[in-house]
């Protein structure tokens, strides 16, 4: 560990002294990409924004997608939200197998899907503020957070509502996400109900405010990044009991601006995508800050492959409102050295449209879920001898 830390220190120091553009001038990793799902979809099944993609140990593919029409209906004095997200399972060739969680109460706005080492499937929903654990057969095993009972519907005159169709949970103002304009949020408003002492610290427990991702350490402890509204990581034991939070809104070590993704390596180092601070922060399992990588652009999605030789994949995704810059995915060593990069923003194969999810069960065969292109690509890296180590 001492060796890793000193290497990380060197990397971090380097990062501060070199501009981002220079840092991104790393070798291109040759690669191929296919869209294995679209041509195989049944006639009545459509993918929308592919917010999450993950594979299990059999190579089966799970996609949690924003699709259908998010709706709000009036229920007396309050408004109730329905629909907008679906979870699909495909076999390893891309053939559609089944849907899971049809009509689930908390499927409103897909944010991420991950598969744990026991092949359970975990969905993260940004609008329902929920994380749901499905067993490999698709039965619900565990739920974190609760969907807000009522959705906010401002008391606007009818003519002001004419062009609207979507409503938000009743919450204090949350920072804007990656919506129209794609501007980074201003300093975040406070946390959810019963906000902690620091802005964005969030309350103990499960009151999420637009959570983003989930990961597990080798003991099975559960880490949930939360998220767009809060700026914290919540840690739970394997039975779902809350242990601790760390993080708040800000730019210091251990603070976040849109904590967007999380991955844990075999040594239980916790890597957190701190998107709008344009860095990956590394912690131990107690939330103690260890180091940061500041040379990664805006990390929208991160992944660490399992096995003896682990790498960190980081997507510097283009914002949804622009294809003219960013969009590449970086392959890094766990101490922050960039091995190479691949891809760019665009709509063709081998181009990426706001990558929101990476599955890296295999070092050189990745699945990439895109918001902008409503698509999952299977990416095959063809590293040269010099490109790997």
């Amino acid at each position: 560990m001492r060796r890793v830390l000193s290497a990380a220190f060197v990397a971090a120091t380097l990062a501060f002294s070199v501009t981002l553009s220079a840092q991104l001038n790393f070798p291109e990793i040759p690669f191929d990409a296919v869209d294995p799902l679209t041509v195989n979809l049944p006639q009545d099944i459509y993918l929308g924004e592919a917010a999450g993609v993950a594979t299990n140990s059999k190579g089966e593919i799970f996609v949690y997608t924003r699709t259908g029409t998010p709706r709000v209906t009036t229920a007396g004095s309050r408004n109730v939200s329905h629909g907008g997200a679906r979870l699909f399972q495909f076999d390893r060739t891309g053939k559609f197998v089944r849907e899971m969680g049809q009509g689930a109460y908390g499927f409103l706005m897909a944010q991420q899907v991950r598969v744990d080492p026991q092949d359970n499937i975990w969905t993260v929903d940004q609008m329902a503020n929920q994380v749901v654990k499905f067993d490999p057969n698709g039965r619900i095993q565990m739920i974190f957070g609760r969907k807000p009972e009522a959705m906010r519907a401002p008391n606007l005159p009818l003519n002001r509502l004419a062009d609207t169709y979507a409503l938000v949970p009743h919450r204090p103002a949350a920072p804007a996400g990656e919506g129209r304009g794609g501007a980074p949020p201003a300093a975040a408003a406070g946390g959810g109900r019963g906000a902690g002492p620091l802005p964005g610290a969030g309350p103990p427990g499960e009151n999420f405010n637009r959570p983003t991702d989930v990961a597990w350490d080798s003991q099975g402890n559960i880490y949930i990044t939360d998220g767009y509204g809060n700026s914290r990581i919540a840690k739970y034991d394997r039975n779902g009991k809350w242990i601790k939070n760390w993080g708040s809104t800000g730019t210091e070590d251990g603070q976040f601006q849109v904590v967007k993704g999380i991955a844990i390596d075999a040594a239980n180092n916790v890597y957190v995508a701190d998107r709008d601070n344009k860095r990956v922060q590394v912690f131990d399992t107690e939330g103690n800050f260890k180091t940061q990588f500041r040379n990664v652009g805006s990390p929208w999605a991160i992944c660490i492959n399992p096995g003896a030789r682990q790498f960190l994949y980081v997507s510097n995704s283009n914002p949804p409102n622009n294809l003219d810059y960013d969009g590449e995915i970086l392959k890094m060593t766990l101490d922050g050295r960039i091995v190479g990069k691949f891809g760019r923003a665009g709509k063709m194969l081998k181009e990426f449209g706001t990558v929101n999810s990476i599955d890296c069960r295999s070092e050189n065969e990745l699945y990439v879920g895109e918001l902008g292109n409503w698509r999952v690509q299977r990416v095959t890296l063809k590293p040269t001898a010099a490109g790997t180590r």
Binding site: T38, V39, L41, Q43, D44, Y46, L47, G48, E49, T65, R66, T67, G68, T69, P70, G84, L108, M109, Q126, M127, R152, A153, P154, L156, R160, L161, D163, T164, Y165, A166, L167, V168, P169, A176, G177, E178, G179, R180, G181, R210, Y228, P320, N321, N322, L323, D324, G346, K347, M348, L371, G372, N373, W374
Partner: protein
């Protein structure tokens, strides 16, 4: 305003000196007078619907090279239906698609891809001939962002890759994509065939000067790559070359709700001076509702049709397919229907008047 350059300030000055146009006024009498009537008939009962299938407001209609046709319409949800060349219902496309919220137009490109333009999600969805989504343009606002209000005053600056209630799409022979955008923005955007931004004309602001728009409502591209924009609120068609340089303005055919250019060696431009929905103002029935057949240079060949609810009359025409210039497929908002129209040959002396 902080994003303004010198050019932008000049542009703003232009707008201030011009009469500030309001929301589109439609249902006006076209300037062109003494236009010959083209005799026509409406084929009765063209679309054959299964007993449990209904059309709603039929915003767009388009045929592919085999004669199959698609209707994009507003029903309980916005739906996209396919019919065979005889008008028999085939199937629904895109049911439950994330991109369908409020239909505006459907077009079929030269490779038989089907493009839906949705003003509710601010998106264009490209289906390949098998019905798979192969490209999307624009992005639906995230539900979690809540109610998307029309801001008071000017809309926010337009962005390259986002639309604000887009209206229509066309392609040049190279496959470049032209999008009219729309009700909130007032611009036309050119993308390459891979969806990458090339240039635009117009902006987020209404205007009535050349190169400005007041609701660019429909778009068509001829075989030379010239772009015809139905500038509805300004009651004119602006014609641009392929680089969006203005070449001509046709202002004598009323408020163009829909334009269509037929293929083949002799191309025609069709433009609909549709009567406004709900028969408002009531006088609009008497002075609008007709469709013009024009040469590409703006000379009027003739006109046909009038406002009315009967078969063979039009109720707010919103979509025209003119793959065959003598046999048009016409979709109407207010009548919830699609008609097949056969134009009869004209006597030669009536053609080509101004």
């Amino acid at each position: 305003m902080k994003r303004c350059s010198v050019a932008c300030l000049f542009f703003a000055a232009l707008i201030l000196t011009a009469t500030t146009p309001g929301v589109a006024q439609t249902g006006q009498r076209a300037k062109a007078q003494n236009v010959p009537e083209i005799p026509f008939e409406s084929v009765p009962n063209f679309l054959q619907m299964p007993p449990d299938v209904y059309l709603g407001e039929s915003m767009g209609v388009a045929r592919n090279s085999k004669g199959n046709l698609w209707v994009y319409h507003r029903r309980d949800d916005t739906r996209l239906f396919e019919f065979d060349p005889n008008g028999k219902f085939v199937r629904e496309w895109g049911a439950g698609s994330y991109g369908f919220e409020f239909a505006h137009k459907v077009r079929v490109d030269s490779e038989d891809n089907v493009w839906a333009v949705d003003e509710g999600t601010n998106m264009l969805i490209k289906f390949n001939p098998q019905g798979k989504v192969v490209m999307v343009l624009g992005r639906r606002p995230e539900a979690v962002e809540g109610i998307v209000e029309q801001p008071q005053g000017d809309p926010p600056p337009d962005e390259r890759y986002l639309f604000a209630r887009p209206t229509d799409v066309g392609w040049d022979p190279q496959g470049n994509i032209f999008v009219s955008d729309g009700y909130i923005n007032h611009r036309v955007v050119k993308f390459d065939k891979n969806g990458r931004f090339i240039r635009k004309v117009g902006s987020n602001l209404r205007g009535n000067q050349p190169y400005q728009f007041n609701t660019p409502h429909s778009i068509a591209v001829d075989a030379q790559g010239n772009v015809y924009v139905a500038d509805r609120g300004n009651a004119r068609i602006q014609v641009f070359d392929n680089n969006l340089v203005l070449r001509a303005i046709y202002d004598n055919v009323g408020n163009p709700w829909e334009v269509c250019i037929s293929p083949g060696p002799h191309q025609y431009l069709f433009s609909s001076n549709s009567n406004p929905d709900s028969n408002t103002p009531a006088t609009s029935w008497d002075v609008s509702g007709e469709i013009y057949k024009m040469e590409l240079d703006g000379r009027i060949v003739g006109k046909f049709g009038r406002a009315g609810k009967a078969v063979g009359q039009f109720q707010t025409v919103h979509g025209i397919d003119c793959r065959n210039p003598d046999e048009l497929i016409i979709s109407e908002i207010s009548a919830w229907r699609v008609q097949k129209i056969r134009l009869r040959p004209q006597s030669p002396q009536t053609a080509s008047v101004r």
